[in-house]
């Protein structure tokens, strides 16, 4: 896909304006999944802004984000990195054959504790 088109698509989908970012890093400072991630929330913002999106699409970081919205809550500039990550994730998932979860994977994960709702939201988050 065209690089510029991809960037605009993600920005439109997320409703985030990465230009507002002042590079303070509070999102990464607050992220509970920081150590799990290859690319950190502030990098998502700056890489989307510079159009460097392919590495993000291929990175596992997309699925390490807990969508806890701590970064959204604390960003002093109102940039909302979690929404941006969500948009990149959706872009990855919408590509053909990029499903991260199939119904066949479910039985292996099941235990008594897991609520129905978690499965539904996992499907929403990880499949197209």
């Amino acid at each position: 896909m065209n690089k510029k088109y991809l960037r605009e698509d993600i920005i439109r989908m997320s409703g985030v304006n990465p230009k507002k970012c002042m590079r303070c890093g509070k999102c990464s400072g607050t992220c509970p999944a920081y150590d799990e991630m290859e690319y950190h929330p502030h990098q998502f913002v700056s890489m989307v802004e510079s159009g460097d999106i392919e590495p993000l699409l291929e990175s596992d970081s997309l699925y390490r984000c807990l969508t806890c919205f701590a970064c959204v809550e604390r960003c002093p500039r109102g940039v909302e990195p979690a929404k941006l990550i969500e948009a990149v994730r959706l872009t990855a998932i919408r590509r053909q054959g990029a499903n991260r979860l199939t119904p066949n994977d479910i039985p292996a994960m099941l235990d008594d504790e897991i609520p129905q709702q978690a499965l539904v939201s996992a499907f929403r988050k990880y499949t197209k």
Binding site: G25, K26, S28, C31
Partner: protein, 664 residues
């Protein structure tokens, strides 16, 4: 009918090169009202002006049209000439046929045609001109300074030194403001008290200065040169004139559990108190919210121990009205509230403090006598984290904090970090920054010293979350340059909080009809060229009420405001601009639209009696414009739905006539 004379200037070849000046003079002769028309090489020269004067006399002219260069150039010259010739100076109009005609058009016929049209427009306007005289108003030679911080102190001293009486109104029991609370000042590290308190004493002893401490401005009426201000002196229950400030009452007062606001609540004071040792005026004040005597009528210890008999439990608020020629606003700032910033755990832990609290903690006169101790347990902290830009540079949609940079935080944080490392080399100091902004004399050198000589760890990145864990504060932050997340177990966290204008500023601005920006900072008359004046004539700005500033900037602005005030008070009478708005009372319907759009508060409404045709009288509410305050922008004239408001010198009729002349 006017008798108009038209004078077309050649300006050497500047005009005559592209415009056929003779043809212009000839064509304008046919215009209604024109009785004389001529051309001359240099109208602005002495000979040209003499020509005008003699023509006025010879042809009995009542109005003049000069076709020449821009009115911005020579309007004043030709108005003076008219005056010499015995005409009202406002009976002159200029047709700009140089800058806006001959210089921008190359073709002679086209230039000539346009010059004629511009001349016709000017003639049409002069036909409707009326003589105007600027109003005069007296100047009361006394200034009011609102706010007694370093800005107010400096302004008051400078005005008083020039020989004019000054009153300072300060809402706290003492002057001194925020600077009195500081420990040391960057970048020279001289002690704030050592440089401020002598100035406070100067103020107290100056014969031209009166201090109204523990007082507020409650009402402002009038205009430049003549402001009538009501000052409310809050009851302090101590007779200021008798109190010697000995402090016996303070030590004997049984109610000692009142949070001390001077130390930002980090220790307690008694119900009767003197804010600090060098307070000016040094008199005690009873806090009515905590005094047992005032609340229950049972105590009276202070009045028993007072040898001067200064305690007066029956004292009432007192209102004083005074007239001033100029008002200086110096209301200063406050650090913002940390209530919306839960992530920094300010309300959860006593060991998360603001920078101003840190100043008090390191101040020799502070709650710990200058020893840096944790507020929670009084232990010496070993690991200290400073967080910059807390609440500054926030986007408006984040709905907390301020959009602007608070300007002083970078430098005072560097100062705090440096002083901490200097006094306690066993501490580890971290500073989390987004950008370090050090534009100022010796500022960057100072910051570099903190990094290079004092080993302060500057980390690019913001603190995301602070969690109190046992005695420690877990600080989670990102290090953007190293690309890692840090978890620091700090003993003390200092937040460089954004600053905001004092809460009282908004209501004061309403009273003064001075304008403010969206952040409640006072706006200046011109951001570059008139930075210490408010758009409201006679109101001046000093210090942080206009925008974030450090001490040297505040002092220089205070001096600048003082010099403007002195310039105003040195005049005996103020001559106004005669091109001001005026309202036709018979047409005014009293709707208040004009009052709302006036940026100067020049329009007021009054009830007036009108004689009706049937010989009865009726009272109607009508607008009236104060010509001393009106600056002549004309905004009200367009807003007025009934067409009652008009602007002298630029009347609706006159501009219409110009439009007609151009479109003919």
């Amino acid at each position: 009918m006017q008798r108009i004379g038209v004078f077309v200037c050649w300006c050497g070849s500047n005009i005559a090169g592209t415009v056929d000046v003779v043809a212009v003079a000839e064509a304008l002769k046919k215009e209604p009202g024109v009785v004389f028309s001529t051309d001359y090489q240099y109208m602005c020269s002495q000979a040209g002006q003499d020509l005008i004067v003699s023509s006025v006399k010879e042809h009995n002219l009542t109005g003049l049209v000069i076709c020449s260069c821009s009115p911005r150039m020579h309007e004043a010259t030709f108005r003076k000439t008219a005056q010499v010739a015995g005409l009202n100076p406002y009976m002159v109009e200029i047709a700009n046929i140089r800058e806006q005609c001959s210089w921008v058009h190359k073709d002679m016929p086209i230039g000539t045609e346009k010059a004629i049209i511009l001349g016709k427009a000017a003639v049409a306007k002069v036909n409707l001109n009326a003589p105007l005289t600027p109003g005069e108003s007296p100047v009361t030679k006394r200034a009011l300074v609102i706010g007694g911080g370093i800005a107010g102190i400096q302004t008051a001293l400078d005005i008083a030194d020039a020989g004019f009486p000054v009153d300072i109104v300060e809402k706290k029991p003492t002057i001194g403001g925020k600077m009195a609370q500081l420990d040391k000042t960057f970048p020279t590290l001289d002690c704030a008290a050592c440089i401020l308190t002598p100035k406070m004493v100067d103020v107290a002893q100056h014969e031209n200065i009166r201090i109204f401490s523990y007082s507020e401005v409650t009402d402002v009426k009038g205009f430049i040169g003549n402001f009538d201000v009501t000052i409310k002196k809050n009851a302090r229950f101590v007779n200021e004139d008798i109190c010697t400030g000995c402090g016996d009452c303070v030590t004997k007062c049984p109610q000692k559990k009142v949070p001390n606001e001077f130390n930002l609540g980090m220790d307690n004071r008694s119900a009767i108190y003197i804010p600090f040792a060098q307070a000016v005026p040094k008199v005690a004040t009873i806090d009515p919210a905590h005094c047992t005597m005032l609340k229950t009528g049972k105590c009276g210890v202070c009045s028993k121990v007072c040898k001067a008999n200064a305690i007066d439990y029956t004292q009432k608020d007192e209102f004083i009205t005074e007239r001033y020629g100029a008002i200086v606003v110096a209301t200063g700032f406050d650090p913002i509230s940390m209530d919306k910033f839960d992530e920094f755990a300010y309300n959860q832990s006593k060991d998360v403090i603001t920078s101003l609290e840190f100043e008090r903690l390191t101040n020799a006169a502070g709650p710990t006598a200058g020893k840096l101790l944790r507020p929670s347990d009084g232990e010496h902290p070993h690991k200290i984290v400073f967080v910059q830009c807390v609440g500054s540079r926030c986007d408006s949609c984040a709905e907390k904090g301020k959009e602007y940079c608070s300007k002083i935080c970078c430098m005072y944080t560097a100062k705090h970090a440096m002083l901490t490392r200097d006094k306690y080399p066993d501490t580890e100091v971290y500073v989390f920054y987004i950008d370090v902004r050090t534009p100022g004399k010796n500022f960057d050198e100072f910051y570099r010293r903190a990094v290079e000589e004092y080993d302060v760890h500057y980390i690019k990145g913001m603190v995301g979350k602070i969690t109190p864990e046992g005695k420690k504060l877990m600080v989670r932050a990102s290090d953007l340059l190293d690309g890692k997340q840090l978890n620091i177990d700090a003993d003390l966290v200092v937040l460089a909080t954004a600053i905001e204008p004092d809460k009282s500023a908004r209501s004061l601005a309403t009273m003064l009809t001075a304008s403010m920006d969206t952040n409640d900072f006072f706006t200046e008359a011109h951001p570059k060229l008139r930075p210490v004046e408010s758009p409201t004539a006679g109101v001046f700005l000093s210090g942080t009420c206009q925008g974030p500033k450090d001490i040297p900037e505040t002092v220089s602005q205070a001096g600048a405001a003082a010099s403007k005030v002195i310039g105003l008070l040195a005049k005996d009478k103020l001559k106004g601009n005669p091109c001001v708005a005026s309202s036709d009372e018979l047409m005014c319907n009293g709707c208040s639209s004009c009052e709302k759009v006036c940026p100067y508060g020049a329009i007021t409404y009054e009830n007036k009696e009108f004689r009706m045709p049937d010989r009865t009288t009726r009272v109607r509410r009508v607008a009236s414009v104060n010509p001393a305050v009106c600056q002549g922008c004309g905004c009200c004239t367009v807003t007025c739905p009934s067409g009652a408001m008009d602007l002298r010198g630029f009347m609706n009729e006159q501009i219409m006539a110009e439009v007609d002349a151009i479109c003919k």
